[in-house]
């Protein structure tokens, strides 16, 4: 198997840089919606970097990748389902 030392190292560097960007972004005075979109975009990028490089998903077959990413729409469906309860007063 190839030695991926450099790839692993630069992946860690990019993850650290993206984390620093996230931390500074919250004090940059961005509009709330823009900030949320930015932070979630960076988070998805970081998650993909970990999954594809460190967890070696990019070397796995399409079938396995599909099986792993399939539950994400289910989670979004769950979010949609939870929204019905928002009218409830949660003050305890």
């Amino acid at each position: 198997m190839e030695d991926h030392k450099k790839t692993y190292f630069w992946n860690a560097v990019w993850l650290a840089i993206l984390t620093v960007i996230e931390v500074f972004a919250i004090d940059m005075g961005f509009p709330r919606t823009g900030l949320i979109v930015l932070l979630l975009s960076i988070t998805v990028t970081k998650i993909l970097l970990v999954a594809m490089v460190y967890m070696h998903l990019r070397y796995e077959t399409k079938t396995l990748r599909r099986l792993i990413f399939l539950p994400i729409p289910l989670a979004l469906y769950f979010l949609w389902g939870v929204m019905y309860d928002l009218a409830f007063d949660w003050t305890l």
Partner: protein, 210 residues
């Protein structure tokens, strides 16, 4: 050690059953985290007020913790890389570094909790500014406190499990039970550890930054 059983090559390539089992566990565990985070998000949308990012929680400290997990993910993948090249010393060295990263992460988290639980006048003024009363930040400090502790404690338990899991792998590595043709258990343990890092990336954004 017995040769790991591999699945049908056309569907799963050279992935072993153990690896597929870990992926199945990761997907299920990921959905559990998803439910906790989405549930917390639902409660947050329904709550009257919610503290701004960084007003109560220590973002720089947690960013350091995120950095720790990123580094430990790097050392974990380097441990696998070492054994693939037959480097037993490298495997042991990187496993120790990964475990140390996990332990340090837990120590920082315990320090953060103790700071909140012991409380202080400074914390009281911060909490007052965020709309809470009292000098301690506890799981009973409104829905915000419940969401924070439930999510981070659940993740912390995963880190603790990962540290124990990797310690077992380390004890096997010290007995030279792994090699370039027998690295399946290291790879599977690595998948779990990277998953812990992956989930923390999401927890950090949702709980601390947004």
């Amino acid at each position: 050690m017995d040769q790991a059983i591999t699945m049908n090559k056309t569907s799963f390539g050279t992935a072993t059953t153990g690896k597929l089992g870990m992926w199945l566990f990761i997907v299920m565990d990921g959905l559990t985290f998803g439910a906790i985070l989405i549930g917390g998000l639902g409660l947050r949308i329904g709550a009257e007020s919610w503290p701004a990012a960084g007003s109560v929680l220590n973002v720089p400290l947690t960013a350091f913790n995120t950095f720790l997990l990123i580094c430990s993910s790097f050392t974990m993948v380097m441990a696998l890389n070492s054994i693939l090249r037959g480097d037993q010393k490298g495997l042991v060295k990187y496993l120790i570094l990964t475990i140390a990263g996990g332990v340090l992460f837990l120590c920082v988290q315990v320090w953060e909790y103790s700071h909140f639980i012991i409380g202080s006048e400074h914390l009281e003024s911060i909490l007052k500014g965020a709309g809470f009363t009292g000098s301690q930040f506890l799981p009973t400090t409104g829905i915000y406190g419940s969401t924070f502790y439930a999510t981070t404690m659940f993740h912390g338990l995963h880190v603790l499990s990962g540290v124990i899991y990797l310690s077992i792998i380390l004890s096997m590595a010290l007995k030279e039970k792994f090699g370039p043709d027998n690295y399946d258990r290291v790879e599977i343990a690595g998948l779990f550890w990277h998953f812990i890092d992956l989930v923390w990336i999401l927890v950090f954004t949702v709980i601390y930054l947004i």
